[in-house]
């Protein structure tokens, strides 16, 4: 798998640009998983995923280790996703205390949320962390490096999300 990526990247660099299609085919699902964790609209996700692949294509000549193409691609995907969030949040109201929660759950029913609902209600930035952690298997340190965030922030957000998900799981099991 790794070896194949290396061969493809080197072929593309040597001028066989059409071989890039194989790389797109192979990694599109992973890129879409990362992108979809923050972008709900399918058309937006599609645009963002295209941007990711085009950026990775432009950066190919600078890629130091061709066998690490996937890591490089996911880094771009995560950064683009984070940029997208930043662009969106700049338009939204920055004060969390004054923003309306999208759908205030009736009191008493809160504990009965399913995992789906919990994940849905998380801030998109946290969903991005969860996607990187559980789909791509990155560690706290790797995520922090990719997103250029303090490690402590990544850890505390993940940890809080996991607690909420665990609670939902236990309620559902009961």
């Amino acid at each position: 798998m790794r070896e194949d990526d290396r061969a493809l990247v080197e072929a593309v660099r040597a001028g066989q640009v059409e071989r890039f299609a194989a790389l797109v085919d192979r990694h599109a699902a992973a890129v879409f998983r990362v992108v979809r964790s923050v972008v709900r609209q399918e058309a937006d996700a599609d645009d963002l995923a295209q941007e990711v692949f085009l950026a990775s294509f432009r950066a190919l000549p600078k890629l130091r280790d061709p066998s690490r193409f996937r890591a490089h691609l996911l880094t771009i995907a995560a950064r683009k996703a984070a940029d997208h969030l930043r662009r969106k949040s700049r338009r939204a109201d920055p004060l969390p205390l004054t923003t309306e929660p999208s759908a205030p759950p009736p009191h008493g029913e809160h504990a009965a949320d399913t995992v789906d609902e919990v994940v849905e209600d998380l801030p998109p930035a946290t969903r991005l962390l969860l996607a990187l952690r559980h789909h791509e298997g990155l560690s706290c340190v790797q995520i922090a490096r990719v997103l250029d965030l303090p490690e402590g922030t990544v850890y505390s957000r993940l940890s809080r999300a996991h607690k909420a998900i665990r609670k939902a799981l236990e309620v559902t099991d009961r």
């Binding site: 640009v17 059409e18 890039f20 299609a21 797109v24 085919d25 599109a28 699902a29 992973a30 879409f32 998983r33 979809r36 964790s37 709900r40 399918e42 599609d46 995923a49 295209q50 692949f53 085009l54 294509f57 969390p96 205390l97 929660p101 009191h107 008493g108 995992v115 789906d116 919990v118 994940v119 849905e120 969903r127 969860l130 996607a131 952690r133 559980h134 789909h135 990155l138 560690s139 706290c140 340190v141 790797q142 995520i143 490690e151 850890y155 505390s156 993940l158 940890s159 809080r160 999300a161 996991h162 998900i165 665990r166 799981l169």
Partner: protein
């Protein structure tokens, strides 16, 4: 590792913050309870994966990406191929034209390949036949080398010519011309075999002499036409051309008349058909209308009956519905009273919960302040914050974060604001105390057997010559009497360390 430590390690592992641990792995082998916990944590990971949006890659995604990546291929191809095409396509013409002719030929000839071949000649078209030059004056037809055509000018060259016609052979002496007329249309010409009298042949012999041949009513095919010689007037080329023009005009005129008549016939036929059709339609419509009227009467009567019956049923159903709704309304009223009571109880409960949260936030703040006072005293005395103090602060910090999140979710701004200021404070102390302990660890060195000041300076400061600095940093240290286990201060990050300790020891 004991169970507690393994549980902590497992939680860290879920968050992606644990180092790989052989100890933990060994413990999990032995301990079923911890294995179960590990399974639960794995299911959290799986449930999260399942709940995140799925990767739905559109089917044409790769093509669209590649469309941006690849150079515009079509244009490039065109640029390369066009000049080459321009150079060699004329070579195709001699090949294509006969092919095209072959393809079109069956359409023009109207007959299968085995039938006699017809070559229609348009007016003024020229052909070569039996050694004579033939110019069609009206629409003419050449079939299997015989002239069947309407009107044609025949000219022989240096040799005598023989032109086959259905009526017989026309012989032309060298250097003579003649006009042959068979009929005006193709049909007439085809019938020439049956009605040879249509043929009028005027021959202009070599030196202006005219021979006229009149076809016999009972002439047989392939028999020479009798040529009756007369006294010819001299005809010059001009007169001949005028004659050609006259004949051509005549042919055209008759053709036009025929077309007009054909058109009139077609119009008349259509009109007749229309008249007949409209009459039939009227008759049919009348009978249909009558039948429909009869049916309509029956249907109306039936409909009125049905409508009456339906209205009766509807009335009955409506009465029943009203009774049912009344009963339901009563039930709702009773239920409403119950809900109101429950709501009252719940509101009281929430007020209580809010009070207890506020209380807890205040308690935590006091705890943090007390912790801070103790830390200040320790640091002022030259000591370091204890691990226990740091852990407590961390615990309270987490609890406050949860309180704050809860308060924000429930829109209790008082509690949230209170908790937030405590969070800021706890975080500040926590950061300073943790950093101070880290610095201390970096600055302290425990002497091992065989160490000298120089070896320590080489290993920790990167330069054996800096042994002097170590000596300076440790007052009263005897460089020749180092004991294993003895703690030595290293001259690293001294300023940051002292400043932090001052800040922790001082007032804000």
């Amino acid at each position: 590792m004991n169970c507690d430590e393994v549980r902590r390690w497992l939680a860290l592992d879920l968050d992606g913050a644990a180092e790989p641990s052989a100890d933990a792995a060994a413990h999990l082998e032995r301990c079923a309870a911890c294995r179960a916990e590990a399974g639960r944590l794995r299911s959290i990971s799986a449930a999260t994966r399942a709940s995140l949006p799925p990767a739905s890659t559109p089917p044409d995604f790769t093509e669209r990406v590649m469309a941006h990546v690849l150079p515009p291929a079509d244009d490039a191809l065109d640029e390369r191929a066009r000049p080459r095409l321009r150079r060699w396509w004329p070579l195709l013409v001699p090949v294509l034209v006969p092919l095209l002719a072959l393809a079109v030929w069956p359409l023009l000839s109207r007959r299968g390949p085995g039938a006699p071949k017809d070559t229609p000649l348009a007016p003024l078209a020229q052909a070569s036949l039996g050694g004579a030059h033939v110019t069609a004056l009206g629409p003419a037809l050449v079939r299997d080398g015989e002239l069947h055509g309407g009107a044609a000018l025949l000219e022989s060259g240096d040799d005598a010519a023989e032109i086959e016609t259905p009526l017989g052979t026309i012989r032309l002496a060298p250097h003579s011309r003649g006009v042959a007329r068979f009929g005006n249309t193709k049909e007439e010409t085809m019938n020439a075999r049956l009605a040879p009298a249509v043929l009028t042949l005027t021959l202009l012999a070599g030196h202006g002499s005219v021979a006229t041949a009149q076809g016999d009513a009972d002439a047989k095919p392939n028999r020479p036409v009798r040529i009756v010689k007369g006294n010819p007037p001299t005809i010059d080329a001009e007169a001949l051309r005028a004659e050609v023009e006259r004949i051509r005009a005549l042919v055209q005129q008759v053709n036009e008349q025929l077309a007009a008549v054909t058109k009139q016939v077609a119009v008349a036929e259509r009109t007749i058909t229309d008249l007949i059709d409209s009459d039939r339609v009227r008759v049919a419509e009348d009978s249909i209308n009558e039948a429909a009227r009869a049916q309509l009467d029956d249907r109306l009567r039936l409909k009125v009956k049905l409508e009456l019956a339906k209205q009766g049923e509807l009335l009955k159903a409506r009465d029943e519905e009203i009774a049912r709704l009344r009963a339901e309304l009563d039930a709702y009223k009773r239920r409403g009273d119950e809900i109101e009571a429950v709501d009252r109880v719940r509101a009281d409960g929430e007020k209580l919960a809010l009070a207890s949260q506020l209380e807890r936030a205040r308690t935590l703040r006091q705890l943090i302040d007390r912790n801070r006072t103790r830390m200040r005293a320790i640091c002022a005395a030259g000591g370091l914050p204890t691990q226990r103090q740091i852990e407590d602060l961390g615990k309270w910090y987490e609890e406050l974060r949860e309180l704050e999140a809860l308060a924000i979710a429930k829109k209790q701004e008082d509690v949230a604001r209170d908790a937030h200021s405590s969070i800021v404070r706890a975080y500040e102390y926590l950061a300073m105390a943790t950093r101070l302990r880290e610095l201390d660890a970096v600055r302290t060195y425990e002497v091992r057997p065989g160490d000298t000041l120089k070896s320590i300076a080489g290993a920790r400061l990167g330069d054996a010559a800096r042994a002097d600095e170590i000596l300076k940093a440790n007052e009263g240290l005897d460089p020749d009497a180092l004991r294993p286990g003895q703690r030595i201060r290293l001259p690293i990050a001294r300023e940051e360390f002292e400043e932090l300790r001052m800040r922790l020891a001082g007032e804000e």
